[in-house]
């Protein structure tokens, strides 16, 4: 029986993770099916579902919200669909998160929860009457440099961004406060022939029918405002050469059938066009047919608003069928992304890592081998799931693993767990498992925190848009971070197990130190190579091999630190304990390089999320220093015998442990 427990636990864990791939059956409206439709937002093709998740995350800091009407929780996609098609209902939902007391005061909201009010989340309807109060505060806050903004100004800008995003989404499918899009569309189309004729005559200085022009302009102006909201681009082109090219906003497409947006702003004197271009545009007014997908979206809207489940499902299927042939690649990518988000592989992995870590700790208390084997297999399964998530992200984005801070956390976790498993495979002393589980868990927590900022698969700015350097420099330097952290965490276990438990015997201590030493060699190789590749990239891109930029400096500090530790060891300045303590300090250097340098840019006393991250960084550094302090306790205070190796048993000038003799 005992033999089977580890396998059983691992299988159950794997089963739980894999089972989430299968979508839940939708008895009613095929909202999830709608969520799998492609849209262009933030410059990339993505499913509506991702837009919904990332938007709700930015507005409410969560991917779900409590459903006040039906009870239970509401997912992001149903919420966004309601916002787009039945905004009058969505406006009553409490989605805006406000924490800052002064900001609450600005809206005249009570500071504490009372009755129906949870004191944190507010609906559009609740905020709307005093929205102008917020708008007044925006310009002064925007004028200030990011480093000098107060908490209040930060909160003002965050809420303003959330509200802007909310309105952008509202204008995605139908114009603001439209109650019957299909009917409006029909009326608009009917006004176009006479309207455009009148418009052309007017522009040529001939007589024109004022009524016809006014009738059309009533709609056109509405759609110009809609286009100005910069909503997601939902209308597909006939074919696209580059991903995302040619997609249109609803407002833009509606205008093209009457007076195209650029011509409109030209006439209004807002953005003048060259004479020739304007004349050509006037000539072609009224000749552009209505985009073929607009009516399909109108049908979706009608069915949704009428609560017509069958009609909605049919309309969605009908629209999706038009995409099948020309957008097969986009559709499969988008389907994959939806599955990826629904499956949440990193969340599953995180749970398994934490369980494995608890088991590894339990092992040291009770020393029950089955527990250790269970922990091992759990980490292996978690690593597989972690891998699946990582590879999915790479395939969806068409990018190497690390493109931003979020993905660096995912990748550092991946590298650390991989190294931990390798160590365990070789040394079989439970410490590899513990380090892998702990670092895997911690890095995924960090990743989760970073994902609150918005779309984690954002597009790369022109300078960074090179898969070659992202794949080499960024990947390798990140592996350097990961391995330095693994060495540092091994050091933590050396101190923790040595001081507080009796399990670490002299030989174990020696082995642990060898592991640390070996990993540090690995670290310096990777951090050096990665840093230098960054220099080469910089030299290739803007002619400066080294620019003393904070991030470069951070990477250089890791290289220098690893060099220092290795020289201390090779020169015999430190022995086992010293090497481990130095390795622990390496954690602080990595944390600085990874996060500290990013915080410099936005100001060390920036608030909001960064503030929380900053306190996190500071506590991490404090904890590492505490461990170093504990490690410096006299050896008589150590419960294990690992540190108590008598001076005579060590060579006076130890040869590098791994080099051996």
């Amino acid at each position: 029986m005992k033999r089977w427990i580890p396998w059983l636990v691992a299988l159950v864990a794997l089963g739980c993770a894999v089972s989430r791939i299968v979508p839940k059956r939708e008895p009613g409206m095929a909202v999830a099916e709608f969520g799998r439709l492609p849209v262009v937002f933030n410059g990339r093709v993505q499913p509506f579902d991702s837009v919904a998740r990332n938007s709700l995350m930015q507005i409410r800091n969560r991917q779900t919200l409590p459903d006040d009407k039906a009870g239970g929780t509401m997912e992001a996609m149903p919420w966004m669909l309601e916002l787009m098609l039945k905004p009058e209902a969505a406006d009553a939902r409490r989605v805006f998160r406000i924490d800052h007391p002064d900001l609450k005061a600005l809206f005249g909201l009570p500071l504490d929860p009372s009755g129906d009010d949870d004191g944190k989340h507010y609906s559009w309807n609740r905020l709307q009457p005093r929205f102008s109060n917020l708008v007044e505060q925006v310009a002064p806050a925007e004028e200030k440099a990011a480093t000098t903004r107060t908490t209040f100004e930060q909160a003002v800008l965050k809420l303003h961004n959330a509200a802007t995003l909310y309105m952008r989404l509202q204008n995605t499918i139908q114009p603001m406060r439209g109650t019957n899009f299909a009917a409006e569309l029909a009326a608009y189309q009917a006004s176009i022939p006479a309207g455009t004729l009148a418009f052309k005559s007017r522009m040529k200085g001939m007589d024109f029918q004022t009524n016809a022009l006014v009738a059309m302009l009533e709609y056109s102006e509405r759609y110009l405002a809609m286009d100005g909201m910069r909503a997601p681009l939902i209308l597909p082109p006939d074919h696209a050469e580059k991903e995302g090219d040619g997609w249109l906003r609803m407002g833009d497409a509606l205008l093209q059938a009457s007076i195209p947006g650029p011509l409109f702003t030209h006439i209004m004197g807002k953005k003048p066009l060259p004479q020739e271009e304007a004349e050509q545009m006037i000539e072609s007014v009224g000749t552009v047919p209505m985009h073929r997908s607009i009516a399909r979206f109108a049908a979706i809207s009608t069915a949704y608003r009428a609560n017509d489940t069958a009609g909605f499902n049919a309309a969605v299927a009908d629209y999706r069928a038009t995409l099948d042939r020309p957008f097969a690649a986009e559709l499969s990518k988008v389907a994959w992304e939806t599955t990826f988000y629904r499956t949440e592989p990193f969340y599953s992995a995180q749970l398994m890592y934490v369980l494995a870590f608890v088991l590894a700790c339990a092992y040291w208390v009770g020393l029950w081998p089955t527990i250790l084997r269970t922990a091992w297999w759990l980490v292996v399964v978690a690593f597989l799931v972690h891998n699946a998530g990582l590879v999915s992200r790479m395939l969806i984005g068409g990018r190497p693993p690390v493109t931003n801070l979020y993905s660096s956390a995912i990748f550092i976790g991946w590298g650390a767990v991989g190294l931990g498993l390798l160590l365990e495979h070789y040394w079989k002393n439970a410490i590899g498992i513990a380090v892998a589980a702990l670092l895997g868990f911690a890095s995924l927590i960090v990743a989760h925190m970073l994902s609150l900022a918005g779309d984690t698969m954002e597009m790369m700015r022109a300078v960074l848009d090179t898969n070659f350097w992202l794949a080499t420099h960024v990947t390798i330097v990140t592996l350097g971070y990961a391995s330095t952290l693994v060495a540092g965490f091994l050091g933590l276990f050396y101190v923790g197990l040595g001081v507080f438990t009796k399990v670490l015997q002299e030989k174990d201590g020696r082995n642990l130190t060898r592991m640390v030493y070996g990993i540090l060699c690995f670290s310096i190789l990777f951090s050096f190579t990665g840093t230098v590749l960054g220099g080469i990239w910089a030299d290739q891109s803007w002619g400066r091999f080294w620019g003393w930029d904070p991030k470069e400096n951070g990477a250089l500090m890791i290289v220098l630190w690893n060099a220092l530790v290795l020289h201390c060891r090779m020169g015999g300045l430190v022995r086992d304990r010293g090497l481990n303590l130095l390795a622990i300090f390496g954690n602080i250097v990595v944390a600085w390089s990874w996060f500290g340098t990013n915080m410099l840019g936005v100001g060390l006393h920036a608030y909001g999320f960064t503030d929380a991250a900053f306190i996190g960084l500071l506590s991490f550094a404090g904890a590492m220093l505490a461990f170093i302090g504990i490690g410096l306790l006299p050896l008589s205070a150590w419960r294990s015998t690992s540190g108590q190796a008598k001076a005579g048993t060590l060579p006076t000038r130890p040869v590098p442990a791994v080099a051996g003799k």
Binding site: T147, P369, C521, Q540, V658
Partner: protein
């Protein structure tokens, strides 16, 4: 004498020194990173990394920034404080640390490390480090950076220095389309300086020099108590104000000077020269001179014409996707006339220079493209040294690993193999 010397060699070749220098290096890089926000990148490089010692003012700036790390939030120093004197050296700078590391490495290899095949990796790595340090010094000394900005359709045969200015006097050479130019680097334009040049029919005296300034039209009704900046030229109707020098990368200083010219027959008057004012004409000695304060120019033996720019953003966003300039090279020396594309991550290497796409703008006065122009004769240094260090480390760690595995195998043969749970068996 000999024992003293051998003691010195012992210290200079010791691992302790290497470790101490590496530690100083880490502290230096850390402080330099912190000081960057208040002091600006250029000044930090000058005071921390390209210096033998760091002065107390710069350290103070870094410490004040560091106070924010522990929520103490000390105010930054005022901008003019960085220029104050005296500057007392309190911490080793980049050149001192690098130089000592170099000495330490060389001494260690000569005095201690014996040559053996096991040490080849270390030797190669250290040789690479030496090359890297020396190469960095050469780069600091030899490389220049300038800017070539032009509008679509414009042709240019020079680039401009980013932060160096020159005062130029030019006059037409009769019968040709050329001009004769006298250039005075801004470094010579100190308050009260007197500058003579055999080609100039006048003496240039610097009344006031402004590192950063703003010049405006003098409104007689408003600026009643302000005299015009100069007696001649544009300055007759303008006033100039001193601004604190800017240090961050996003802003440029606008230098200005009030100069007094005097010919053989006495004073000609004073002129306001500023980056905001283009050519002013000065009549002297029967000739018309054009005077201008402008970024220092580096003339090229060929010309570039900006044919077309391409500024792409991701659909529906403002995130740049690609900047690309189509440029025609005309080189009368080699008879070359060809077109090239310069874009992000794809610079043009031509005539010993490298041209990188850096800025692009389509709002102002048409389509505008800025190229960063770099001359760095020692650019190969980092590549070579990196290859040596990387190869050296790889070799060294491989040698160690082979030795270690050999030893493990030997011990495995004599001992029982490690079990899955070695500690469990020993437990208590």
């Amino acid at each position: 004498m000999i024992p003293m010397l051998s003691r010195l060699v012992k210290v200079l070749s010791s691992v302790r020194l290497a470790v101490a220098l590496l530690a100083c290096g880490i502290v230096l890089v850390f402080l330099g990173t912190l000081a960057q926000e208040p002091m600006g990148l250029y000044l930090v490089q000058e005071r921390f990394f390209k210096a033998f010692f760091v002065d107390q003012i710069s350290i103070n700036a870094a410490v004040r920034k560091a106070s924010h790390l522990v929520f103490l939030n000390l105010d930054p120093l005022p901008p003019e404080a960085y220029e104050a004197h005296p500057r007392i050296p309190v911490f080793p700078g980049g050149y001192l640390i690098g130089g000592l590391l170099l000495v330490n490495l060389l001494c260690a290899h000569i005095a201690k490390l014996k040559l053996s095949w096991r040490k080849t990796g270390i030797l190669l790595t250290h040789a690479g480090v030496v090359l890297m340090i020396v190469g960095q010094v050469f780069t600091d000394l030899l490389s220049t950076e300038s800017n070539l900005s032009f509008f679509e359709g414009e042709t240019k045969a020079y680039s401009e220095h980013v932060d160096r200015q020159e005062l130029v006097f030019a006059k037409d050479v009769p019968g040709t389309d050329r001009e004769s130019v006298v250039s005075i680097p801004a470094s010579m334009l100190k308050d009260g300086a007197e500058i003579r040049h055999p080609s100039l029919p006048f003496v240039v005296r610097v009344r006031d020099w402004y590192q950063n300034s703003t010049s405006r039209t003098r409104a007689p009704m408003v600026h009643t108590n302000r005299q015009p900046a100069a007696s001649e030229g544009v300055g007759r109707k303008a006033i100039v104000d001193r601004l604190p020098p800017v240090r961050d990368m996003d802003h440029r200083n606008m230098p200005a000077a009030v100069i007094e010219l005097s010919g053989e027959k006495g004073a000609l008057g004073t002129w306001l020269m500023s980056g905001q004012i283009s050519n002013q004409e000065i009549e002297a000695d029967g000739a018309t001179w054009r005077a201008e304060l402008r970024p220092e120019r580096l003339y090229l033996p060929f010309s570039f014409t900006l044919l077309k720019i391409n500024h792409e953003v991701y659909r529906g966003t403002d995130i740049p996707r690609n900047f690309q300039s189509r440029v025609r090279i005309d080189n009368p020396g080699t008879g070359e006339h060809r077109e090239v594309d310069i874009y992000m991550n794809n610079p043009l290497r031509y005539g010993g220079l490298t041209f990188y796409q850096s800025q692009m703008n389509r709002e102002l006065l048409g389509q505008f493209s800025g190229l960063q122009v770099v001359r760095n004769p020692s650019w190969l240094g980092p590549y070579l040294s990196t290859a040596m260090i990387f190869g050296g480390m790889l070799l060294h760690f491989a040698i160690m690993l082979v030795g270690f595995i050999g030893k493990q195998k030997k011990s495995a043969a004599t001992q029982t193999p490690p079990t899955v749970v070695p500690a469990a068996a020993r437990g208590r």
